[in-house]
Amino acid sequence: MDCMNARLLLLFNRPGCAEIASEDMDSLQDHLEHCAECRSVAHKEKMVDGVLGSALRKVPLPGGLQERIQQRLVLERRPRPWIWLATAASLLLMVGLTVSWYLQPSPTIDAGSITNLRPGSSPESVTAWFRERGLTLAIPPEFDFHYLDSWEVVSLQGQRVPKLLFINQGVVAHVYVISTDQFQYDEELHQRLLNNSLNAVILHHPDNADFFFLVINSGGTLDSFQRRGV
């Protein structure tokens, strides 16, 4: 063993040190027997560690520490009434909510809410219904409102839009009334819709450029919904 390795081992050597292999310890002892300089360093290391270790371990204990620890542990073991009360209150609340949810009567059907299911409503009353919900309805002029079956507010790509459902002799047409504030009119979309088999078309409003209509029908033509005189 050379001096450099011996000095490194000396830094970590201490009684009962398990991390230094016994062969290394033997080599270190051999080296120290023959090297006076390292022996001096080893002696100094031992002295310095002795002085510092002794000083570091010398910590006066405050009087009554053990008793105070025991008292604190006893306090911690005691059931805390506020915790029990809070837990009991939470449980009661949960049980109460669950029971009330089960016991609550089924809702009755509100006559007002079914007005939009009544066929043949006038364009004015339907427009008013949507206005109450913050939406402007443009009336599709090609459609006869005698065939209006129902209407509702739907979400189209995240936008609230009015939807009208027309039915006549088994033919169904879903009419989405779209504002140009919400969606741009896309001529290419119109062409794509015409070219595929979705039975969907885009209709302009002849008098109001702020709106257009996306119409999806179940087959056949839209002629069956045509207003007389349009």
Binding site: E19, M47, V48, L52, G53, A55, R57, K58, L65, Q70
Partner: protein, 178 residues
């Protein structure tokens, strides 16, 4: 919930380890009051989590780890960090008087307080002579080599702060004067 058997076990832990835990806490924090708080908190946590201690032989190491985590939590909350450029640490003084004088306890604690926690903890644990290097590494969750390196630098720092000839003369003067 603490089971009756656990009450006896925790009392046994207190009886066996409260002295060394307090000493560790004091050297770590530098304050008697904080050391007592840390020691009490450690046993409270141990009482609450006693079921997690699978190997009773590792109880001491487990308690020290809880205490250190509690200390780190407090330090982070206070946003206090000790830093000393350990690169500037000197070598062990060549000339040492024999026998070596006693180290001034105040200066020792001041020097410890100046060290960053990652250097202070292995140093304290090393001098407490209760843990192997491997156990210290496990407690701090760092590789053994890192512990060795931190320990070497921390020891050199402590020596340079406390065992320079000027400091020795001062310590001797105090002893003679006192």
């Amino acid at each position: 919930m603490v089971w009756p058997g656990n009450t006896r076990k925790i009392e046994e832990l207190v009886q066996t380890h409260y002295r060394s835990l307090f000493a560790f806490a004091y050297r770590l924090s530098g304050s008697v009051q904080e050391a007592e708080d840390l020691t009490q908190d450690t046993f409270c946590q141990a009482q609450a989590k006693l079921g997690q201690l699978r190997d009773w032989a590792k109880a001491r190491s487990w308690l020290f780890t809880i205490l250190r985590n509690g200390y780190l939590h407090r330090v982070r909350a206070r946003k206090i960090e000790n830093r000393v450029p350990l690169e500037e640490v000197g070598e062990l003084p060549e000339r040492l008087p024999a026998p070596l004088p006693e180290v001034d306890p105040e200066k020792l604690q001041l020097a410890l307080n100046e060290l960053a926690e990652e250097f202070r903890t292995p140093l304290i644990l090393f001098y407490f002579e209760e843990f192997s290097y491997r156990e210290i590494a496990e407690q701090m969750e760092v590789p053994l080599g890192t512990i060795m390196s931190r320990l070497a630098r921390a020891k050199a720092y402590l020596r340079s702060r406390l065992l320079q000839p000027g400091d020795l003369a001062l310590a001797q003067d105090r002893r003679e004067g006192g």
